[in-house]
Symmetry: C2
Subunit: 205 residues, 2 copies
């Protein structure tokens, strides 16, 4: 560390400024004392919603805790996140989808698939041994009315105190936003797909 | 699958609508034929930038490919993503930070730390065996002028063709946005911290 004596004028000003800023930041951190299980909603049209949820699965595993992932729309394709994370000790992974509506073109089957997936997710939402529940693409099931809010919200509200829930998908319903502790809206400023680049291994798959 | 005969009116309309939509989506997918190494910028003030990068590390590992992670600001605290991902075969993990400016309060040391980290990152950006390079919190080093754009941009531009780079951090510089193939701006609509909840294990750490 530089000693105070040999600092340039810029370095001295930097030290003063950052010392003041540290006091402000430390006060804010000291004011945040609560520990609780969070509901996070990751919505918007941009890239990074599901990826972010999988990053939190990795974080959870870093503490030797358990995570349960429910993928509600994506089909059975062998994607990277599933290949890697589903084989980790402590991870439960359920594919509860068969692709987007325009793939199946079968409303009755899509609803049945969604309901079967939700029944499984409810078990994880009642299990205090599960530290993180990822409900990937859940927003669509609500927006398409495959699941009602009366079915979805109570199991999330009544989950174990310290359990975290991450919900992803575009256009999150206002009631999900209300329920959430943290909401990130991911704006699509630029996307390689529009420049003719298809989904890339390790990034999109 | 339901047969066409036993469909309700709503189900039949759904089938027609989704069939049309599938044609539109399929045409777009058919138009995207390029494979290339992408630059992704995840910026904005909301929760989920670094988490998303770590999710893409998990995806990369799912294909047995290699990832290199450089954390430019965060200190040596034992966080979940590092505990879990850094011990995976195929992952190189470098802590190139000692905390935010207001923690060290030492401009000269912060610049030296940043430059040492960037020297290591340049090696990964020149290595075709590395499929994904994560430059976590790189935006701050540019915004604080610890690293110049002339130092940062060429190694990214000249990297191996199929290597992906993910850059995270608030307030990404316009030149980084220009260079990127995909840019997501994560808006902070709500954050548990403002309601008095401190950083939670498995979510923020």
């Amino acid at each position: 560390m530089s000693t105070t004596e040999d600092l340039t004028e810029e370095e001295r000003r930097h030290k003063q400024r950052t010392r003041k800023h540290k006091a402000v930041v430390d006060a804010k951190i000291a004011a945040a004392k609560v520990d609780k299980g969070l509901v996070l909603v990751l919505t918007g049209n941009g890239k990074g919603k599901s990826s972010s949820a999988f990053g939190m699965v990795a974080r959870t595993l870093g503490y030797g805790r358990r995570a349960a992932v429910f993928q509600f729309i994506k089909g059975k394709e062998d994607v990277g996140e599933r290949a890697f994370l589903s084989r980790q000790p402590g991870v439960t992974w359920e594919n509860c989808g068969e692709g987007f509506t325009w793939e199946t073109q079968d409303l009755r089957r899509d609803i049945a698939t969604a309901r079967a997936g939700w029944e499984k997710a409810k078990q994880a939402l009642a299990d205090p041994a599960v530290s993180l529940v990822v409900l990937d693409e859940l927003t669509y099931l609500i927006n398409y009315r495959y699941l009602s809010l009366d079915e979805v919200l109570p199991p999330i509200r009544n989950r174990p105190d310290m359990q975290h829930v991450v919900i992803t998908g575009r256009a999150a319903h206002a009631d999900l936003v209300d329920l959430a502790d943290t909401v990130s809206a991911i704006r699509d400023e630029k996307h390689a797909f529009r420049a003719g680049v298809r989904a890339q291994v390790g990034i999109d798959l």
